[in-house]
Each structure stands twice: as structure tokens, then as C-alpha cells.
């Protein structure tokens, strides 16, 4: 069974923020809410500057789903983690539980209190009727239903950000690392490397 995943190649990301703008534009996201962001470290240090585009990683064992008191999250069969804004009470627990800082909260009302949660939907809409006005208003475009890949990945000029079925993403990752000369079987990467303290 396919599982949809993002992968951002920090060797290729150039901190252009094209993905951020594309996402905001496509889904008409209000000011103050960013479903995607680009983080840069060692900015300006030659050879050491690295950037990474981050959004919801659509975890298989999503902590946001575990912590939500109203059980508003659900995981589709293709692994995309979505939530029901009609159920969300904006408590923010998902933000505390998320390892990636994906949940976003805008301010609303006369007192500017926190609104309901918004996050990356992998451009797959939400629980409302597919491709309906309601769905767009609440969750943005449903590009997956139209057979397209998420807007951020489609707009990435260096193809640092790729999205799609995990097995296909994995093949691209392996191809790129092999081409760079990295032996992935000997050199752990990502969480594995972090957890091993390497």
C-alpha cells in the first residue's frame, strides 16, 4: 500500500521560500499562519549553510492524533494525516505533541484568541465533500483528488522538496545520495543518526 511522504533534500534547498509562498497562495492561508516554513542554519557561512523546508510530515504514528482531546485527526489509507476543523476546539495540544511544529493557529475574534488549528494537508483537502467550496474554504485545494502532487513540491525550483509515494521518494533519495557518493548503508541519516548521537 502506498504512503504519501515529503522529503526535503538539504543539499538542494536554497532558502528561496518558493514552497512557502506557493502553499499560502494556493490555499489562501491567512497572514500569521504558515503551513510550510524554511529553516536555515549557519546562514552566511560558506559551505556550512543548510536549509530545510518543513511542514507536517504526515507521521504513520502521529502524536497529534494521540494527544487530541476531541479526536479530530484521522489518517487516510495513503498515510496523509488530516483533521476535522468542525471538531477542533483549538486547545493547541497537537502543537505541544508535534515533533515538527506543524500545527498552526491564527488569531480570531474581537479578543484575538487562538482559532482552530490549521496545518499542511498534503494538498488533500479535508473531511468535507471533495472539491467542494466548503472544503476549499476550510482546508484549501485538494490537488491529490485532481491527481496532482502538493503545490509546494510542484513549485520547488531545485526539486529539493519532493512529495509522493514513499517508495518512489525513497528511490529518488537513494539515487541522489549515491550520486553524491554517500554510502547510505554505512552512514546513518535523519533520526537514526540523531538517535545514535552521530
Amino acid at each position: 500500500m502506498s504512503r504519501m511522504k515529503f522529503y526535503c533534500d538539504d543539499y538542494r534547498c536554497i532558502d528561496c521560500n518558493g514552497c512557502v509562498v506557493a502553499c499560502k497562495e494556493a490555499h489562501e492561508i491567512p497572514v500569521g499562519v504558515n503551513r510550510r516554513r524554511v529553516i536555515t542554519i549557519n546562514e552566511g557561512i560558506e559551505g556550512k549553510q543548510k536549509s530545510l523546508s518543513v511542514a507536517c510530515m504526515h507521521c504513520s504514528d502521529a502524536p497529534c492524533q494521540k494527544v487530541c482531546p476531541t479526536d479530530c485527526f484521522y489518517i487516510r489509507t495513503d498515510g496523509i494525516v488530516l483533521h476535522d476543523k468542525d471538531k477542533c476546539i483549538g486547545c493547541g495540544y497537537c502543537l505541544y505533541a508535534c515533533p515538527f511544529g506543524a500545527p498552526q493557529f491564527g488569531h480570531e475574534g474581537i479578543f484575538g484568541v487562538k482559532g482552530v488549528m490549521d496545518k499542511c494537508t498534503f494538498c488533500a483537502g479535508g473531511p468535507d465533500e471533495t472539491l467542494s467550496e466548503n472544503e476549499f474554504e476550510h482546508y484549501g485545494q485538494n490537488r491529490i483528488a485532481e491527481g496532482k502532487i502538493p503545490m509546494c513540491a510542484s513549485m520547488c525550483s531545485t526539486k529539493a522538496l519532493i512529495a509522493g509515494d514513499a517508495s518512489e521518494v525513497d528511490k529518488i533519495y537513494e539515487y541522489r545520495t549515491a550520486k553524491r557518493g554517500d554510502n547510505t548503508s554505512l552512514k546513518p541519516y535523519g533520526w537514526e543518526a540523531y538517535n545514535n548521537g552521530k
Binding site: I41, V67, P69, T70, D71, G101, Y189
Partner: protein
Amino acid sequence: MESKTFWECNKAYILTALGLGVVGFVFVGFLMIMDWGYLIQYTMHALIGDTSGVLTAPASELEQMINAAFGPAYNTVAPEIIRASNERQEYIWYVFFAEIMIFVFLYIKNGRVTPTITRPNDTVQVLTSFQRAVIWLNIGMISILVLTGFNITWGLRSEGGDIPRILREFHELTGLAWIAVWLVFTVIAAKDMKGWRKNSTFRHFLPGSFKPSKRVIWFFYAAMGAALCFSGAMIITLHPSSLTHADVIQFRRVLLYLHFGASVLIMFFILDFVYASAVSVKGYLKGLWSGSYPREYLEQVAPDVLDDLKKAGRQ
């Protein structure tokens, strides 16, 4: 004058410390999955102004990237938040059940004190309008905070939606307003302070003196209220944008946990106060509303209040 033993003088403190010690030992030792070593070190860092949660310089580029993008040390506090928020839904009933059992035991043992009133019209004004306003504002706001707080905790039962969301927003706004009321009540109920000042200067202090059991309630109200006000206000105002997320998320996690813990403890002691005022003594609430009590009531139940009022020349 009858001399009291150390045990008799300090029974309330010893039993409270013992009870909390046993419950704390079970919680910390067997139920919680918090990384205490990290939390202690983090608190030290936070006290000197570094709330980022990065306790040691990153050892690799990857760790540096994780710290910058997601915030450091996810496995230290966040899993505890997930555990606590889930288990609060399931097990917080047991806290109340245990407390109600304590009240049942006390009721069976001590019964209800019913003062004999033969002259109901001979009353003494005990509470000023200001004191009553603060007390009833406090009661009202705490009731709202408890109900709207449980609305979040037990969201699974309401299944969310607009009304629970509005109640959650109301919890935040009421909480902000309660900070002032908590502060004023903490000051006027600090009866031990009266010895330091003349009654005329501090006429807004509640009359009477603390018995140890009541002093414990006041202490927990003041301490846990401070924790709730601080953590609540910070959680509301420290609203991270997508770019400041990594800098504040660990601080917010710790604050939320503080909020969880303080809310359970303050609830325990507030319920204690409710039992002491509404159940154990007849006529207490009526006086709390009107501000005056029959003189015989005070002579039998609260002679210290009568003494205080005499000293202050208020009756």
C-alpha cells in the same frame, strides 16, 4: 494553658506532606515518563533566561538543524504531555473519588457542626462589601475555569465543535481576568500578615486566624494559583509563529505541564475548602453572602473572628 505536642501542632502539615509525598512518589516513580534530569537542568537554564531548551551545544550539523527547525530534545517532555493529556481523561475521576471518600470519612467521624442560635437578630458584620465582592468573584471565576477546563480535558466526550471551542476561548479570557482576583484574594486571605501590620492599615484582611488545616489550603491556593496564572498567561501570550516555534516550544511544553499539575492540586484543595465551608459547618455560606453572622455562631464556631473584630473596633 494546655500545652500541645509537636504532632498536635503540626498534624495538618505532616499529613498533607505525607499524602502528597506518597502520591508524588507513585506518580513520579511509576506513572510519569518525563525525563526529570532534563527538566531540572532545563529549569535552571530557564531561570537565567535561556528558555530554548538547548542545554548543550549541538554535536553535529544534523542536531543543529533539528534544534533550529523543530526545537530540541523532543523525547524529554512531549511524550509526558501526550501521556498526561490522555490519562487525565481517563483517571482524573479517581482524584475526585479519593477526595470524596476522605470527605465521607470526615463526615462520618465529625458530623456537621450546627451552632445553636437563640438570638438570630443579634448579628455581627464580619465581611466588608469589598471582601464579599472578591470572594464571590473568585468563586464564580473558579467555577467557570473548572467547567471550561474540564471542557478541554473531556473533549472526547463532547466530540468538539463550536460550543466546546467557545468554552475553551472563554477559559483563556476568564483565566486572564482571574489573575487580578487571585492576587487580591491571596493578599486579603493572608491572615498571618496581620501580625506584621496594624489592623487599621490592613483592614481588608479577612478577620480571624489560620488553623493549620486552613493555612495549608491558603498556601496551595496561593502557590498553585501563581503557577496557573503564570503558565496560563504565558501559554496564551507566547504564541509562536512558524519561525519562532523552535525557540519557545519546549518552554510552552513545560508550562503546559505545570498548568496540568497545578490545576489538579488546586482543585484538590479548593474542594477541601468547599467541604469545610459548605458541608462541615451549617450557616457558613449564608454569612459569606450577607457578610454578617449571628454573634452566637461566631462565639461557638469562630471565636478568633470575633476577637479580631473586637480588636479592630468593628463591633
